[in-house]
Symmetry: C2
Subunit: 431 residues, 2 copies
């Protein structure tokens, strides 16, 4: 009777644990976070020292996993069949090994690398609702020092089943998100590519805007939203006839107005898209990249904080890209003048803090974005050196406000070389 | 001791049930199916007669639910605070009512409408992981005839918690899907709208293709994939200069080739998008709408079943829309001739079964699509009458192969009226 009771009590505990894990797993559709969560909770519930989870890539017949490394994740991959996890992935059979070193399938190399000492191992396949094997979950070194029991096997299998369902949902969600973003990227690239001269514009404006966002301390979500908005900022150009958009020569006032209408087209077109709650501001963000802080911009003539922050950030990136690009009717603006435009318009056209954030960026980042379309890449050693100077420092040197110290003059020269290199013969900068 | 045992046994049962429900709920991200599943499983686990689930729309302060009605779902909405479910939504407190008719909050009107007799009611708020109330779940009439117990309350709350997490995930997933599809729609509309003459083309080709798919018995998923592929079939036109694309007059051979390149642009552009597994064929589907069954199409010169089925379906819809639309250089083709093109090219350009499926469509469906952009809508009574004739029947009458019976001649005349009505004065059909 008392045996029955303790048996039942343990069963209750088990179900409770699985229920709790289940609920926790349901709470996120972020795959990286989910995988970390599964491992944490499994280690805890199983009274083990650590857990790992490997997903099966059936195309390449490999197992893969992501391992946290600082704030990033590193991907691990190995062939199916290798080690204990690999053999569970291949066979679909649970493995309960009291001492890994006595099992020839165990790969001792990893312990030797990491200094860890694996003893007991319990490894269970993860099957989804359709019964397909999508991965394996493995727990190491039961804390009691005993081998894992049959009850442990049942518990881990239940957890693996819940984990499989949660992982599949997260994968579906991430695929859907990826579809959306890759569609946005592809579209904006295709639109820019209509004219070789504007090719890459949206991508560069996006990269500059994201760099400013990072400098301002934006979180991952805000950066993602800014990214989508920036990729789409010129989508309204689809509503501007190419004969005006790509006109080679001075524009009439009327033509200029037609070109300006692209910003309100962006507003209208994006306004028809169903964005989810957190992306709902994207149409307004994207449609306000030509607004000015002083209210003299377009299309809505908003001013100050009435302009969505992302619109104000993009304004800096958009102008910077426009004047550092070669256009139909003029060449790249001399870089000293480019920086003067930004600082002169600080507070009138641009939000001061956003210009300042931009000026804090390293030349390396700027060159990487600005020259990304160039068939002749920037030499890696030069890129390395560009890491040591910010735009603000470059400006001080170009303006003569600071005297160059140790190698700075040469660095500036290298920068100018790359900036000017592909200009046509006889180029005379606008000034 | 035996009391402890049965208590524990019941607890085990409860956790088991919740665990099972949890696993079941994790298995779908389809919101309609999920809501139905939650109600089914809750009714079963709670030993009750029926269950209902209401989600809270905090913007409008309403509760809403979807009720299966045949194969469709009907949406129910009522204000927060109304009835027992409404008051739980407003207060967040669980309600356990032994006899609904003795509680003044209960809305007897619904029982009167449906003939149902509500007795016991247990209604529990659904809280998500952040503790926000997203809905309520309600079970009616415990099968034993007894009131619901405190154990029942605990069980329902556990179920409601799992349901809340699953529902939120499904909502996030559906929003993401909706974003993608609405983006595709908006983009294809914006691209077509560049030229008023082609405005609506992609949308109409999509509608014709989906109609053929339905006629062929496609399931919901295949229809959705066909829909996205058809909306995107002309996305490659972004790579064709407008000066050629919209040329008013005869095209040179070279210009014709440039226009034809849009199909391979569609292949290339869509090939860069990350589609999820089930949508992976979309680029090939969309890029093969100008292939011909006999291999004389473009861009890949595929033939027969080497052309993706969706490409063969779209071919019918695309040609039909092209020749029933007014273009720069010609007017709408006489409808008798339109149908002859389809049947003459049956087996050479088009897959015979797909032409046949198209010819089985009712005039109503064709008119609805063909005239969807017309500012003067088709009279509802005419639409109604167009339901009684298929394209194949119309063709037999137009060709004189069949003699019209009871009102058919008038119907054909009405159809021709709508088809020809907005043509310019002095229009002479191509023939």
């Amino acid at each position: 009777m008392s045996d029955d009771l303790s048996l039942l009590q343990r069963e209750v505990e088990r179900y409770k644990a699985v229920y709790e894990v289940n609920r926790a797993l349901g709470g996120t559709l972020d795959l990286d976070r989910l995988l970390a969560l599964i491992m944490d909770r499994t280690t805890e519930v199983m009274n083990a020292d650590r857990s790992s989870l490997f997903l099966i890539d059936w195309d390449s017949e490999e197992l893969w996993s992501k391992v946290a490394q600082g704030v990033r994740y590193r991907e691990l991959r190995f062939p199916m069949g290798l080690g204990l996890a690999g053999s569970v992935a291949a066979s679909g059979e649970i493995l309960n090994i009291p001492d890994a070193y006595e099992d020839e399938r165990f790969n001792q190399a990893i312990d030797r690398q990491t200094g860890y000492r694996t003893r007991s191992v319990l490894c269970c396949p993860m099957n989804n609702k359709q019964g397909d094997r999508i991965g394996v979950i493995q727990v190491l070194n039961k804390l009691s020092g005993e081998p894992f029991t049959q009850e442990d096997e049942e518990l881990l299998c239940a957890l693996a089943g819940s984990a499989a369902v949660a992982v599949e949902n997260a994968q579906l969600y991430e695929e859907q998100k990826l579809s959306f973003v890759s569609f946005v990227e592809t579209l904006s690239t295709a639109m820019d590519a209509r004219d070789p001269i504007t090719a890459g514009h949206s991508r560069r404006v996006t990269a500059y805007s994201v760099a400013i966002g990072e400098e301002l301390g934006y979180g991952e979500k805000d950066l993602e939203i800014l990214r989508v908005a920036a990729l789409l900022h010129d989508v309204g150009k689809i509503g501007v006839p190419e004969i005006v958009l790509f006109k080679d020569g001075r524009l009439t006032d009327e033509e200029y107005q037609v070109i300006q209408s692209h910003a309100s087209h962006t507003l209208n077109i994006l306004g028809k898209i169903h964005f989810d709650r957190e992306k709902r501001e994207i149409p307004m963000m994207a449609g306000t990249h030509h607004e000015r802080l002083d209210g003299k911009g377009y299309p809505l003539e908003l001013s100050g904080e009435d302009i969505p922050e992302a619109g104000r950030v993009m304004a800096v990136g958009d102008v910077f890209d426009a004047i550092t690009s070669r256009r139909h009717y003029r060449d790249r603006m001399e870089f000293r003048k480019v920086l003067n435009v930004l600082t002169e318009e600080r507070g009138t056209h641009f939000q001061p803090e956003f210009v300042d954030a931009f000026m804090r960026l390293k030349l390396r980042r700027i060159v990487e974005i600005m020259e990304s379309g160039n068939p002749e890449p920037v030499a890696p050693e030069d890129l390395e050196r560009f890491e040591s100077m910010t735009l603000a420092e470059l400006k001080a040197l170009l303006d003569g406000a600071e005297a160059p110290v140790e190698g700075q003059a040469e660095l500036v020269e290298r920068f100018q070389y790359y900036y000017r290199r592909s200009l046509p013969e006889g180029y005379v900068p606008m000034d």
